[in-house]
């Protein structure tokens, strides 16, 4: 497992060679609901931009859906952004929900589960399911 040859291979690799910057998916607004999608890797480097994008969505005082179904990596810095955004949404009376996809082992779900923060958020398997739920919730009884 630890042969000198393998050691050389590991050391000679350019660590950034396979680092791919994910495409930025433009935020969109469904009727009355802001959908913010976060594909790719998310850590301390991307957290400020994600915080700004959610903040912009919340500024319109609409319900906000954060789509993490295509997130490939999520760390506690992004969870911090989500928790502070949830608090702001609650203060201003805006609905705030997550989309985690169908795979219970998806990186976002795993990070939420490990930190025990998943139960704080309404979560849905798809954007359409989240939109249906938020739209139904806003219909008059």
């Amino acid at each position: 497992l630890c042969s000198p040859e393998r050691r050389d291979i590991v050391r000679s690799r350019d660590p950034s060679a396979d680092f791919v910057i994910p495409p930025v998916r433009p935020d969109r607004t469904e009727p009355g609901v802001a959908v913010v999608s976060f594909p790719g890797d998310h850590d301390i480097a991307s957290a400020p931009l994600l915080r700004e994008r959610i903040s912009t969505a919340l500024a319109h005082r609409r319900p906000v859906v954060v789509d993490l179904s295509d997130a490939l990596f999520v760390d506690s810095m992004l969870l911090g952004v989500l928790v502070t955004s949830l608090r702001r949404a609650r203060r201003q009376g805006s609905a705030f929900a997550l989309v985690l996809g169908d795979d219970p082992r998806c990186p976002a779900a795993r990070a939420l589960d490990v930190t025990g923060t998943r139960s704080m958020f309404p979560s849905y398997p798809s954007v359409s399911a989240a939109l249906d739920a938020l739209t139904d919730a806003r219909l008059p009884a």
Binding site: C2, S16, A45, F73, S76, T115
Partner: protein
């Protein structure tokens, strides 16, 4: 446990943009062992949290390096993340929730944090290849 000449060694400036570089390099290293997908993801999350601690806490108003070393004996993976800074001290302007070290504790077989030889702080983590923690939570 890690010898001076570890299988995997990487040293980079402790900057936010380099945390992903460390993570992708560690992924390439650990994929040669028998961790399943969740095991690999847990290792990458723990290493990311340790590196983030270096970026946030080690070098206040200065610059420095984050060093990552790893070695696997087939049963356990040993990873050490160290800096040469002032240690993990509370920051009132910390951008996170303070979950970094608890997450590392939840995802590792064992971990320790201590003063590094020659100065700085080192986070030492051990991951089991065959028996990763089940349903880890804080």
């Amino acid at each position: 446990v890690i010898e001076k000449e570890a299988d995997f060694q990487l040293s980079l400036p402790a900057r936010a943009e380099n945390v992903a570089v460390v993570r992708h390099a560690v992924r390439r290293y650990v994929e040669q062992f028998d961790f399943d997908d969740v095991g690999v993801s847990d290792i990458l999350l723990a290493v990311t949290e340790a590196c983030t601690n270096c970026v946030v806490h080690a070098y206040i108003e200065t610059e420095g390096m984050v060093e990552v070393r790893a070695q696997c004996d087939g049963e356990e993976l040993y990873v050490r993340v160290r800096d040469h800074g002032g240690g993990i001290v509370p920051r009132i302007d910390s951008p996170g929730l303070g979950l970094g070290l608890p997450v590392i504790m939840a995802l590792t077989q064992s971990m320790s944090i201590h003063d590094a030889e020659g100065g700085g702080t080192e986070v030492a983590m051990v991951f089991s290849v065959d028996s990763p923690p089940e349903n880890p939570t804080l």
